[in-house]
């Protein structure tokens, strides 16, 4: 049976790769150091597969067919899908068998994830892996939650999905060590009149509730206040799923900084038993 040996969460933005110099060098290095530390912790946990909870930013899915939840079950994932992203084109390894297992087990748990056997991953998966320095090494299972086009799955549902995901992972017979990276948020807003807004108060309260381990409180706060934190803040769904998968493990905030010139509140943390 697999053990979940590491559960991390971090923000992502294409700006990290496309316009890193939009912020001061000292600030940038501090953030990049936070991502490298996360990558070192993931590598030190020696996972045989990495679940990446993220979202598809309308690249693989369009308004003709938009899954609320999708689990990848492919042996490899080309990236990046964005022709404008400043990132080397490469193919990341996938763990198709684990993806297939999770699809079956989550269906049995009364969730209805879409399956995909072909995804070209975007910055939402690539940017945090790249900055963490673990973009090539560990076979991935991408799990994509719709945070980009309403109607969106509820915060409550995403937390419950994470609980079921954690249970399913722990029953997986073919591997001994798996890790989870949840990525997105925290507050930010894109392509609306509020673009550039970072709601530091929202971010700090969200992180405080995670540290308090109050799942019902995090779900309630997220549901009631996400509209104060911008359309990009809808991505806290991935953090809620990770919290569910962590099964009561304690959340440690490793880093937070409001970074308006990257349009994002950058948070990094992990759940540890």
């Amino acid at each position: 049976m697999a053990e979940i040996v590491a559960i991390h969460a971090a923000s992502h933005t294409p700006v990290m790769l496309n316009f890193p110099d939009a912020i001061a060098a000292s600030e940038r290095e501090e953030i990049f150091a936070g991502f490298r530390a996360m990558g070192a912790a993931i590598a030190a946990a020696r996972p045989q597969a990495l679940i990446v909870l993220s979202d598809d930013h309308v690249h693989n899915f369009f308004l003709n067919n938009l899954p609320a939840l999708c689990i990848g079950a492919a042996p490899q994932y080309p990236t990046p899908v964005e022709h404008w992203l400043k990132a080397e084109k490469r193919i990341l390894p996938g763990d198709a068998a684990l993806g297939a297992y999770l699809l079956s087990r989550l269906m049995e748990s009364d969730f209805d994830p879409a399956l995909s056997m072909e995804l070209t991953l975007d910055h939402g998966v690539l940017a945090p892996l790249e900055l963490a320095g673990v973009a090539r090494d560990i076979p991935l299972v991408p799990i994509l939650i719709n945070c980009v086009q309403p109607p969106l799955p509820t915060m409550r549902r995403c937390h419950a999905f994470g609980v079921a995901l954690g249970r399913a992972l722990r029953t997986y017979p073919a591997l001994e060590r798996v890790a989870i990276l949840a990525t997105g948020g925290i507050s930010h807003d894109l392509a609306t009149p509020r673009m550039g807004m970072v709601n530091e108060a929202f971010d700090r309260e969200f992180l405080r509730l995670l540290e308090a381990g109050d799942a019902a409180g995090v779900v309630k706060y997220s549901t009631e206040h996400v509209h104060e934190a911008g359309n990009g803040a809808e991505e806290i769904r991935m953090w809620l799923a990770a919290m569910g998968a962590a099964d009561g493990a304690h959340f440690h905030r490793h880093y937070y900084r409001a970074v308006p010139n990257w349009y994002t509140g950058i948070g990094i943390g992990e759940w540890k038993a």
């Binding site: 316009f19 308004l63 899908v81 964005e82 894109l190 673009m195 550039g196 509209h227 359309n231």
Partner: protein
């Protein structure tokens, strides 16, 4: 206060978003568009204002017509619209709605 201008895209927004999506995902579309915008846009069912907003890189009008924020953001970067122009056009709408 809502994060979303449209909780469900209108038919007009669907057509507009389809252009923004295909331009940046189909291999030959961006070159075709840049070569002859009018001919490219003829392929789609668009309202007059959606068509004009796309053709004129009118970021504010694209937003108001229901462009998905991620498609609009990617379009701004993909079309190399300078950040002060795209972000400025959006911010100028604040308080008008």
């Amino acid at each position: 206060m809502s994060n979303w201008l449209q909780n469900m895209p209108t038919a007009e927004a669907y057509g507009l978003n389809k252009v923004l999506f295909e331009l940046h995902h189909k291999p030959d579309d961006l070159a075709a568009y840049l070569g002859d915008k009018e001919a490219y846009l003829d392929r789609f069912a668009l309202t007059g204002r959606a068509r004009a907003a796309i053709r004129d890189n009118d970021v504010a009008a694209l937003y108001l017509a229901g462009a998905n924020p991620y498609l609009l953001r990617a379009h701004c970067i993909g079309m190399k619209i300078p950040e002060p122009v795209s972000v400025g056009a959006l911010k100028a709408l604040a308080g008008k709605n």
